[in-house]
Amino acid sequence: MEYKDYYKIMGVARDASQDDLKRAYRKLARKYHPDVSKEPQAEARFKELGEAYEVLKDPEKRVAYDQLGTNWKANQEFRPPPGWNAGFEFSQQGFTGGDASQFSDFFESLFGRGFHSQDNRSGSAPGAGRSPSHHAPGEDHYAKVMIDLEDSYTGATRTISLQVPEVDGQGRVSTREHKLNVVIPSGIRPKQYIRLAGQGALGQGQGKRGDLYLEVEFRPHPYYRVEDNDVYLDLPVAPWETALGATVKVPTPGGTIELKIPPGSATGSKLRLKGRGIPGKTPGDFYVVLRIVSPPATDETARSFYRNMAEQFKSFNPRAKLGVPP
């Protein structure tokens, strides 16, 4: 297990005040919050930060952590010294917040002993707090599934690996890996949820099992973009295709189609193919946005052709709107 330098993670000095810690935490939390951040490794950084703050904001845990001394280096192989926390009494049972199950082995070895069964998750959310009863339904669980845009046209199957809790004769709970084949129906849109009834946490007593929700995300596509159930494609076209009109082959997630480009189309023109977006009861539309691409002038024939064009279009001022003389 590796030593974690919580002060370094939070970017504060070892003698930082509680106010300093809170400020540093908030600032970094906004930067790395997975819902907000596009920083690489945001999720890992955010977890690490939550763990560091969890320890340093709690005076008892902080004193205990400081007790390890300053000779440890971040990522150094670590084993807690025998009896390292003798004489400390942790007034709070278990973790005070955050998602404890996400914390590192390092944290676990220092502060986790005996607290494994504590579940603080539901208690830490604002507005949370189901009263404990003998027959409580199990928590709902979440997992993410990545699919490709094409899958939303055809439907797809994904195998999901889950840890399923099991109760034995003595009432002990253990977990077992369980794989589920999930059929993702066509017409699915990004950020939708699929509910698998009864695949969440075990209920207490007679309480029924929670549900499992799969959050569907689309892998970024190299050339399509999705807005709600509409799909957009930037289509490169030659200048003569827009000027004279043409029928060109266009890829769509549902297969190649022939598209008629009306003569006199401008770059940026949007052509709509009704109902060719993500399928459904009200299917989305497929939009083609024209982008004019000129052939390169790499040889003398091409260059002389461009010179002819310049001659032909002498009065054409592409910068007319910019208010500069030709």
């Binding site: 819902d35 939550g50 959310a125 990545m146 195998t159 077992r176 890996e177 929700y213 807005e227």
Partner: protein
């Protein structure tokens, strides 16, 4: 705790037992969640979800009805509720701040996808 096993790489021989029959339901307009279902899915009390609706942060189907029991929430709304919860919990933002953050995040995301495809 859970991880996705990418790709349609399904080898029945490795599965420990026969596949359970799963009723997979997409939480869309036809299968939207009720107020109590959404509250349960977010592990919050219904009052919290009502606050989110009052703040204009969530827009349920049938929002014009003043009877919260008739509201229905699609997956998009469910996701917003979950992000709101996390932002409130992790960043200490109040509801108005969360509403603003969500609106800006939507805009950023739309602009970012446009940028990506235009560059590509």
């Amino acid at each position: 705790m859970m991880e996705e096993n990418r790709g349609p790489d399904i080898r029945p021989g490795r599965l420990p037992e026969a596949q359970a029959e799963l009723s997979a339901i997409v939480i869309d307009e036809q299968n939207a969640l009720t107020l109590s279902e959404l509250s349960r899915a977010c592990a919050v009390q219904t009052g919290y979800i009502i606050e989110l609706v009052d703040e204009g942060l969530l827009t349920p189907e049938a929002a014009e009805e003043h009877e919260p029991q008739r509201w229905r929430f699609t997956g998009t709304q469910m996701r917003r509720a979950r992000v709101a919860l996390r932002l409130q919990h992790d960043l200490g933002v109040n509801l108005a701040g969360v509403a603003l953050a969500l609106q800006l995040l939507d805009e950023v995301e739309m602009l970012r996808t446009r940028l990506d495809t235009e560059r590509g």
